[in-house]
Structure formats: C-alpha cells, structure tokens
C-alpha cells in the first residue's frame, strides 16, 4: 500500500476545513487574490481568512507575492498531487494484487 507521506497529511488537514476549501476554489478561479478580497466573498472575518491562508501556506498549497501594499495569494497545487495519487490508488485492484504478491513471496520456499 503506497504511503501518502507527511506532505499529504498536511494537505488533508488543510482541506478538511470547508472554509479553506472555499478559499482554495476562489483563489483558483481568480488566479490570484488578496486576503481582503477573499474576506469580501466569504462569511468569515478578515482575521479568520488570514489564519486559513496560514494553514494553506503551511501545507504548501498557496504562495504569496507582494504588490504594493497588497499581498496576493496563488495556488501551488503540487502537494495535492501526492494526496490525489494516494486516493486514486488505495483500494484499487493493484493494491490488492501487490498484497497477494507480498503474501506469496512471504511463504516458505526453496532458495533461488
């Protein structure tokens, strides 16, 4: 069974929150967005948006750049790919087949 890894742990934790998922969708649709712009679109405070962006950044899902006095956030979705890879594979036929291969090779045998 493929291990999702620590990066995927952070991704799952970050995306567990529905507001953070909304933030990810809004930034994705806009390309780039400031925390203020996000706070205008969502029923949460500007401070809450700031905390959510922090959690997303810690999971490697957003990056930011400064433009004038604004900080603009964009998605950096690469860490999601590891998590998606795990979700796509787990429970699939190859997980089962490799499990059977492990058991077959674990049985006593004559040395090759």
């Amino acid at each position: 069974m493929p291990e999702p890894g620590a990066a995927a742990d952070a991704v799952f934790a970050a995306l567990a929150d529905p507001t953070r998922r909304d933030v990810v969708e809004l930034i994705g649709a806009a390309g780039e967005a400031s925390a203020s712009a996000l706070a205008r679109e969502l029923p949460v405070s500007r401070q809450a948006i700031g905390k959510h962006l922090g959690a997303l950044a810690a999971a490697g899902l957003v990056a930011d750049r400064r433009e004038g006095r604004e900080v603009l956030y964009r998605l950096t979705p690469a860490p999601m790919h590891e998590a998606m890879g795990w979700m796509a594979s787990v429970g699939g036929p190859w997980d089962r087949r490799l499990g059977a291969l492990q058991r077959h090779l674990a049985r006593p045998h004559t040395a090759v």
């Binding site: 069974m1 493929p2 890879g85 796509a88 594979s89 699939g92 036929p93 190859w94 997980d95 087949r97 490799l98 499990g99 059977a100 291969l101 492990q102 058991r103 077959h104 090779l105 674990a106 045998h109 090759v112």
Partner: protein, 134 residues
C-alpha cells in the same frame, strides 16, 4: 484521456525471486491471475491470463530481468491497458512499483519491431515501433 492507477509495495524477496513471481505462469496464478497462466517475458512475447474470471490476452513490451516488466493486456474486445512493473532492491527485499495506464482506444500490434533491452546507462528498454489503432 488516459487513466492511471499506481501502487507500490515492499516484498520480502530478492528482485530475482520477485521477477520469477512476475513472469512464471504458475506463480502468476498465486497473485495476479485466477490460476496458472502464460507469460513469455521477452519483447513481443504473448501473455494469456484469467483475471477476475475473465480472460486477458496481450503482449510484453519490455522485459529487463529483475528490474522492469512492461506489458499490454485487454479482455476480448475491450480496450487495452499498459502495465509497467518496476523492481528495486529495498533493504532485505524488493520494492515493487506498478502503474497501469488505460488508453481509450483499443490497440492491436501489427508487425512489432522490438529492440531487446540493452545495458544500463542508455535508458535501455524496448518499445513497440508499430501499433495500429483498432
């Protein structure tokens, strides 16, 4: 758009013994097929296995003993998919990585010209040079 499924596992056997399990007809029946099948581990070699009660036939694209096995397979009249198995020494055993890619078109092989796997360093390996889309 092709779909891909990947998996990997550590097995408690050497790459050589693992290769045996990947390519021996009887052994395949212990983990991949419902029962003993056929697989000719040379480029262009045929394979015939019953998997989940359905017969699958196909051919081997690449066979680099104890390292890499690539084959295509399909159920009768169904789309083909490509299976890539890679073996790597991993501590006291082997890490097996598999990727299966499902193209939409059904592929048949006509007049394959295949190179045999060459030594490491040139990315060696075979690829079918002529494939016809059915």
């Amino acid at each position: 758009m092709p779909e891909t499924e990947s998996s990997d596992a550590h097995v408690p056997a050497s790459p050589e013994r693992t290769w045996e399990a990947l390519t021996d007809g009887e052994a395949l029946g212990e983990w991949l097929a419902d029962g003993p099948g056929e697989l000719d581990p040379t480029p262009g070699g045929e394979l015939r296995l019953t998997v989940d009660e359905r017969e699958r036939t196909g051919f081997v694209e690449e066979a680099d003993p104890a390292r890499r096995l690539v084959f295509w397979w399909s159920e009768t009249e169904q789309e083909s998919s490509r299976v890539e198995l890679e073996l790597e020494p991993d501590g006291d055993g082997t890490r097996v990585r598999v990727t299966e890619t499902r193209p939409l078109e059904r592929l048949t092989v006509e007049g394959i010209e295949l190179a045999t796997p060459r030594g490491r360093g040139d990315g060696g390996g075979a690829a079918p040079r002529m494939l016809a889309l059915a």
